[in-house]
């Protein structure tokens, strides 16, 4: 009698453990079962990538490093597209004009490829801020993901996670972005 009861209890214990394992396997199954599901899972994982620090090499081959903590309290990192490089650079030049020096906000652009790098290289005065042409994979990927949603990354050592400003939007103006950054 006792052995039947213990067998039943053990069976249900095993059922519980195996159901949990089965659920985990089912989650993997849902990701693996089709190409769209795989791409969706990878895209979701992309969004988990967090921008940590701006670092890289500019179009002239000079290393761009994160500023020391005492020099800038926030860094705004954005992507410059080759196709719209002049407009993108001008937009952020105007944002820079609107920012007060006391805000200690640093702007850093990232080129999205050769076309942008060439634009920057051909015009020394194109940008009032550093433009990275060669980046660290982890940071660059996080920025690419943010940019695909029209956003720039606002990083600070005071934030646990980066913040974002949407600038690739018809309603976004340099003054509006600067005002958002002041907050």
């Amino acid at each position: 009698m006792i052995s039947i009861k213990s067998a039943v209890v053990n069976s249900w214990l095993l059922i519980g453990i195996l159901t949990y394992c089965g659920w985990r396997l089912y989650e993997d199954f849902r990701v693996l079962r089709s190409q769209p599901a795989r791409l969706q899972a990878i895209a979701a994982k992309d969004q988990d990538t967090v921008f940590q620090a701006e670092a890289g090499v500019d179009a002239w081959g000079h290393i761009v490093s994160p500023l020391p903590k005492d020099r800038a309290t926030r860094t705004v990192v954005f992507m410059v597209h080759g196709a719209t490089a002049s407009d993108d650079l001008e937009f952020w030049n105007k944002v820079d004009e609107h920012l007060a020096i006391s805000d200690r906000i640093r702007l850093v652009g990232y080129c999205d490829g050769d076309k942008c790098s060439n634009t920057v290289r051909l015009n020394n005065d194109a940008a009032r801020y550093p433009i990275i042409a060669y980046g660290e994979i982890s940071g660059a990927q996080a920025l690419i993901n943010a940019d695909s949603a029209g956003r720039a990354v606002v990083r600070s050592d005071q934030y646990n996670n980066p913040k974002y400003v949407t600038w690739r939007d018809a309603s976004a103006t340099p003054a509006k972005i600067a005002s958002e950054l002041h907050q």
């Binding site: 009698m1 039947i4 009861k5 067998a7 039943v8 069976s11 249900w12 095993l14 059922i15 195996l18 159901t19 394992c21 089965g22 396997l25 089912y26 993997d28 199954f29 693996l32 079962r33 190409q35 795989r38 791409l39 990878i42 994982k45 992309d46 940590q52 620090a53 670092a55 890289g56 090499v57 081959g61 000079h62 290393i63 990232y110 080129c111 999205d112 490829g113 050769d114 942008c116 790098s117 990275i132 042409a133 060669y134 980046g135 660290e136 994979i137 982890s138 940071g139 660059a140 990927q141 690419i144």
Partner: protein, 184 residues
């Protein structure tokens, strides 16, 4: 009472058996498909960049030395990092395939996820390989890094011909060799 307990025991065993069968089927499915997932090159391209021939992953070391891959011959790019346990776990298989790349005249580049994750210059992983800390943004925009280690092998035509996401196993080394043989 006894009859009820026996009935309960049988039902429990039946459910247990059913759960074991379902888990088994799911396990086999996932195990089989994980391999195809790891080698699915289409997952490595960002949207709109699928199948396009790659430009060279020109880059820089953390000290600012430029690295330009050789224009002739094939190219292997490994995303890895010093502190990644999976990158450490497949070191033996990586060293084996790295020697094979060297023998075949392939240029080999290790791209680290960030500067702090660089290998020391005397690390065995860097034998016959360049290490890039900063990579051309156009190249990064084309290829997505989801996990380390990931290995991409490009044919001399710059077309991605073989890829593997995750730690390399001995059978992956053989599979990569077959892909390179097939290209000859």
């Amino acid at each position: 009472m006894i009859a009820r307990d026996i009935w309960l025991e049988r039902i429990s065993l039946l459910i247990l058996g059913l759960v074991i069968v379902i888990d088994g089927i799911l396990f086999i499915y996932v195990r089989y498909n994980l391999d195809s997932f790891a080698k699915d090159t289409s997952l490595l391209y960002r949207a709109g960049r699928e199948g396009s021939p790659a430009q060279d992953p020109i880059g820089y070391t953390s000290t600012g030395a430029k690295i330009v891959p050789a224009t002739k011959g094939g190219l292997a790019v490994r995303f890895a990092s010093k502190d990644c346990q999976f990158s450490r776990a497949d070191a033996a298989n990586w060293n084996a395939i790295s020697s094979e790349f060297h023998r075949r005249g392939y240029d080999v580049i290790i791209v680290v996820t960030k500067v702090e994750e660089q290998y020391p210059s005397d690390a065995p992983e860097l034998k016959a390989a360049h290490q890039e800390a900063y990579v051309d943004m156009g190249w990064i925009e084309r290829f997505r890094l989801t996990l380390t280690p990931t290995l991409l092998i490009f044919a001399p035509s710059k077309q991605l011909m073989w890829a593997h996401q995750g730690a390399l196993r001995a059978e992956d080394v053989s599979s990569a060799e077959r892909a390179m043989d097939a290209y000859k």
